[in-house]
Amino acid sequence: MSDKLKGQTISFQNPPLIVNSASIVGPEEGQGPLGDKFDLICDDVKCGKNTWEKGEKKMVSDIIKLTLDRASVSSSDLDFIIGGDLLNQIVTSNYVARDLGIPFLGVYGACSTIIEALSIGAILMDGGYADAVLSFTSSHYQTAERQFRTPLEYGDQYTSCNQQTVTGAGAYLLGWLGGQVRITHSTIGKVIDLGATSPTNMGGAMAPAAADTIIQHFLDLGRGPQDYDLILTGDLGRVGRNILNSLLEENNIVTGEKLQDCGALIFGDNKKFGAGGSGCAASATVLSSTFIPQIISGKINRLLIVGTGALFSPLTVQQKESIPCIAHGIVIEGV
C-alpha cells in the first residue's frame, strides 16, 4: 500500500496510456491563439440543433466519436466511460452516456472534472478492473451562463476578473496499447475554502486549492518544480495564476515560466474575455490540443496538470456562502 499511496498522491504501478485524445471548441475559442491546434471548431454554438444544451451534447458526442475512430476502437470495446459537465445533474454527460450504452460513472468537479475523470480512469486501469476507459467533459458559454449568471443579451458590465466559460469538449481514451503518453501519478485534492465569496473572481477563489494540491504533490513525491517541464493549472485565469504564484512563493516553490494556465492561454490577452477562460473544457481542450502533442514530439518530457474547480451553486452565492474549491493533479509523461 505504501508504494501506491503517499499522502494524497497515487503512484500508478502500471501507468495507463492516453491512447488518443481530441478537442472541439466553439467559434470564439477557434479564433484565439490556440485556434489552429484544436481538432474541430464549430462555427455555430448550437451545432445545428435548436437549443444550446443540445448543441453541447452534440459537441461531446462528436468528439468522443472522433477520439474512438482515430484509435480504431469501437465504443463496445470500452469498459467504462467517465465524464461530467457544468449543467445541473451533469445532464449533458448523462445524455451522451445514454446514447453510448456503456457503463458510466458521472463525476462533478466543476472545472476540474477532466482531471477527476482521468484519475478515476487511471485507477480503474491500474487496479486491473478495466482495459479501456474513456474520460470526457464539456462546457458551453451559453448553457453555463444562463444557469450561473444573467441572460446573455443583458447589458451588465463584466469585471476585469471575470472569466468566460469555454465552449468545447475533450475526450481521452485510456488503454494499454498505441499511446505515446502515460499517466504516472494522481494527486486527489481536498476541498479548500479561504472564504472568497465573489463568483466574478473565480480564479481568486480557486488559487488556494491549486496551491494546496501542488504543494501536497511535491511533498508526497519529494519532488519540486525542477522535476517538471511544465506545471499547468486548469482555469485560474491571469488573476488566479498570479495569486497562485504568490502563494507558492510564500512556500518557497519558485515556478517561474513553468507555471501556465489553460484558461489564461485559450483566449490570449484579449481583454473582452476578462482574466481568461474557465469551464471544464478549458483544461480538457488545451491539454489535448496543445500540450499532449508537445509531449509526443519530445518538447516536454513530463508535466503536472492541476484541474481547478469552484464548487458553488448560484443558490449558495445568493445566500452569501463562500465558494468551496478543489484541485486535482495528474502527472503525464512521454513513454
Binding site: 446573455l152 443579451e153 443583458y154 447589458g155 458590465q157 479548500i192 479561504l194 488573476v239 502563494l247
Partner: protein
C-alpha cells in the same frame, strides 16, 4: 495539517493586491457620456413629438415608448449587451436598460417554452425593480396621505 495556513482576512488581502485596476473614474465618465447621450436622444424624440402637435403628456409617453422600443430592438439584434460592456451603468439606468432587462430573458428562455420559459422567467432581471418600485411608490403614497400633501 493545512498547506495554506491563512485566515480569510489574510487571504483577502492577497486577492485584493492581485486585483487588476478597477478604473472607476474612467467607467464613471463613460457611463455619464453614454447615459447622457441616451437621454439626449429621448429628449430629441420629445421635441419631435411636440413639433408634431402632441400634448406635453402625450409627447412624454410617446418618447418613452420609442426609447423602450429602441432598447428592445438593440437587445434583439445583439447590440445592447456590447454597448453595456462599454457604458456600464450608462446603459443600465435609462429606460432603455429596463427594456433590455425585459427583452433579454424573454429571448433567452424562449427555447424552454412560451409558458414556463419566456412567461415565467421574463421578470428574472427586472422583477426586483418592479417589486421595489411599487413598494417605494406605496410608501411615498402613504407619506403623502399621512402628511396631508
Amino acid at each position: 495539517m493545512k498547506n495554506i495556513n491563512k485566515t480569510k482576512d489574510q487571504y483577502q488581502k492577497i486577492v485584493n493586491k492581485n486585483h487588476p485596476p478597477r478604473h472607476r473614474l474612467q467607467k464613471t465618465i463613460k457611463a455619464y457620456i453614454i447615459g447622457g447621450l441616451i437621454c439626449v436622444i429621448g429628449q430629441g424624440f420629445w421635441k419631435l413629438y411636440m413639433a408634431l402637435n402632441l400634448s406635453q403628456n402625450d409627447a412624454g409617453t410617446m418618447s418613452a415608448i420609442t426609447m423602450i422600443f429602441l432598447g428592445g430592438l438593440l437587445t434583439g439584434i445583439g447590440v445592447y449587451d456590447e454597448l453595456g460592456q462599454f457604458a456600464g451603468a450608462g446603459t443600465i439606468v435609462p429606460i432603455t436598460g429596463f427594456a433590455n432587462a425585459m427583452v433579454s430573458p424573454a429571448l433567452e428562455y424562449k427555447q424552454d417554452g412560451l409558458i414556463l420559459g419566456t412567461g415565467a422567467k421574463m421578470f428574472n432581471v427586472a422583477g426586483p425593480v418592479l417589486v421595489y418600485g411599487m413598494v417605494s411608490a406605496f410608501v411615498i403614497g402613504l407619506l403623502k396621505v399621512v402628511l396631508g400633501g
